[in-house]
């Protein structure tokens, strides 16, 4: 049985509080800092043990920066991240490395994330060597076992990444993430570079692995239907902030935030019978270097009010397990 059903629903494996990551904008010959891009701006959420937590949003909304900041692959500017009760910000280099055994990452482009000069066997053994686990024979055995788990064969260990298709490379990337038996996997657009028929194979694999190993996923994606299929809870991001967060079902069936509504209505549907009403957003996402004051969405919001232009809305619960940051609900 998966841990999801055993664990208390309040049991958080990962907890981000007021997490912020700003990037400095440097201009001029002296490269003086003249501004900031608030890529992630004071976001808070909890990821429960055994669940799949989705982060969706359009390009530039900060979802990938959030994923990397959680692992401290990018050093956050402010806020705290707690993993398994331990605050990551307080850890030194070696403490952090030990912690990373339990938290792994999978990236979008499995070609860029695998060393082209190493054989698959070496790529998969590397995490074990870095963390000093087992002897040579034990490592080989573990590698062969994980290869089988992700649906590849032992003879393929001799191959180089370029000899594999996109779907197979993503399986290898997943295998590498599994080598250390992590508790959490952060997957950043793991299927968006793949064809539909391969995409479903990888999603099914990730689903099976979660059941077998009790994994917790943070699943970052722009594809709303994939997220709906795969995640238990979903956070919608816009310009560095979470605008809505909730259990998948109410969030998709009764979205509260005007941005979530527009986003969901924009998805092309293959259901021809359903002529859904489309909310066409005007204009484009403003530059995060120059984010609007108040609610960041007010420049495109069809329901913007006066207060939206100067006061940042806070996350408020609108229904059990469903919260949004919008003045319409406060």
């Amino acid at each position: 049985m998966s841990r999801a059903t055993l664990a208390d629903s309040g049991d958080a494996l990962l907890e981000a509080e007021e997490l912020s990551t700003y990037f400095p904008i440097r201009t001029g010959i002296m490269q003086r800092v003249t501004g900031q891009v608030k890529a992630v701006d004071k976001i808070s959420f909890k990821v429960r043990r055994g669940e799949t937590f989705g982060i969706v949003g359009e390009s530039g909304c900060g979802k990938s920066t959030t994923g990397r900041s959680l692992l401290r692959l990018i050093e956050p500017t402010g806020g705290t991240v707690r993993f398994d009760g331990q605050e990551l910000g307080s850890l030194g280099e070696s403490g952090l490395r030990k912690m990373r055994r339990d938290m792994q990452m999978i990236f979008q482009d499995p070609f860029a994330s695998l060393n082209p000069r190493h054989r698959i066997g070496k790529i998969l053994q590397e995490p074990l060597i870095v963390h000093g686990i087992g002897n040579a024979a034990e490592r080989r055995e573990r590698v062969a076992k994980v290869m089988e788990t992700v649906g590849l064969s032992a003879w393929q260990l001799e191959g180089y990444p370029h000899q594999f298709s996109g779907g197979q490379r993503q399986r290898i990337a997943i295998a590498r993430a599994l080598m250390l038996e992590p508790k959490l996997i952060i997957a950043d657009e793991p299927v968006s570079a793949l064809d539909v028929s391969i995409q479903s194979q990888i999603l099914n694999l990730m689903h099976d692995l979660q059941e077998q190993m009790g994994l917790t996923y943070v699943f970052i994606a722009h594809d709303l239907s994939v997220v709906k299929h795969f995640c238990d809870r979903v956070a919608v991001m816009y310009l560095g902030r979470i605008v809505e967060l909730g259990d998948k079902r109410p969030l998709y069936s009764e979205p509260k935030h005007p941005y979530t509504k527009a986003l969901l209505s924009a998805v092309p549907s293959t259901d021809l019978g359903k002529a859904s009403e489309r909310i066409m957003l005007q204009g484009e996402v403003p530059s995060p270097a120059n984010a609007p004051a108040g609610c960041v969405f007010h420049t495109r919001c069809p329901q913007a009010m006066d207060i939206c232009r100067h006061e940042r809305p806070v996350m408020k619960q609108v229904a059990p397990g469903h919260a949004t940051a919008c003045h319409l609900y406060s």
């Binding site: 359009e58 298709s165 539909v196 479903s200 299929h229 092309p268 549907s269």
Partner: protein
Amino acid sequence: MEPHLLEIVDLHTHFVTERGEIPAVDGVDLSIRKGEIVGVVGESGCGKSVTSLSVMRLLPQPPGKYAGGSIRFKGEELIHAREKRMKQIRGNEISMIFQEPMTSLNPLLTVGEQIMETLRVHLPIGKKEAAARAVDMLRKVGIARAESIVRSYPHQLSGGMRQRVMIAIALCCEPELLIADEPTTALDVTIQAQILDLMKKLNRETGTAIMMITHDLGVVAEICERVVVMYAGKVVEEGAVKDIFANPRHPYTQGLIRSIPSMNEERSRLYSIPGQVPKPGAISQGCRFAPRCEYAMDICRAQLPELIAGANAAHRSRCWLNTTQEVAN
């Protein structure tokens, strides 16, 4: 019934490589009527982009090679047309837009200069008139402040704006056919919705036919009337969008439709087509989909089925399952 605007018959486009000739497009039949929006769907490597580049005669030769078949545009054969004639056709009668607008726009010219260039190559108009038309065209594709955007360079614009500019360039000479190769794949959903909406509107207003190349069945459902499904260099199914979604006849089309995570229903597991798309040239006989097909029979591995219609003459599929009755007789 109206004659076809574009008629591709038994097109073979090969790539000449060190390991021999690889048939990327292997006997494709495809036709488009005036004002029609036709989707061409398939996964990477199925030959959909090579088909469109063949129509525009934009494949460098070598390695590209037109190994057979015909491409007729308004009755005129394009395969053997001279380059001079193709230059008149491209941008004027048939236009094309690509997935990544940044790489297809010239970074050194302003948006206005690029629209004016296209106009003045094809139409006998002066600079002033071309400039005025450029601004008009930008307005038509929904760009606010067209007077100032006309003087911007591509890098100053966002992805959605660049794709609008591409569409403006493609449509400024009022072509009869627009080939759009994954025009919204690089864009976010809310911007994609805007661009698809714009294309539909321009199709209605100007009567430009659109060949929409995409891997996204959602986009097809959204904008197309008819759809052609390709697999490994061949058309495996074609028909009206509503027929194909309601009653896909080829197991590959069925698999594609079933693999999409649906927004409306929930399943714990997604259907997935086993195996992978074969490498071009890897299969020489039989149905290309047979190695991945759950219904594969002996005949599928031995002999290639024809693309034939069932009760509905407009809905054709290339599968022995749909032809076995006829064979038995």
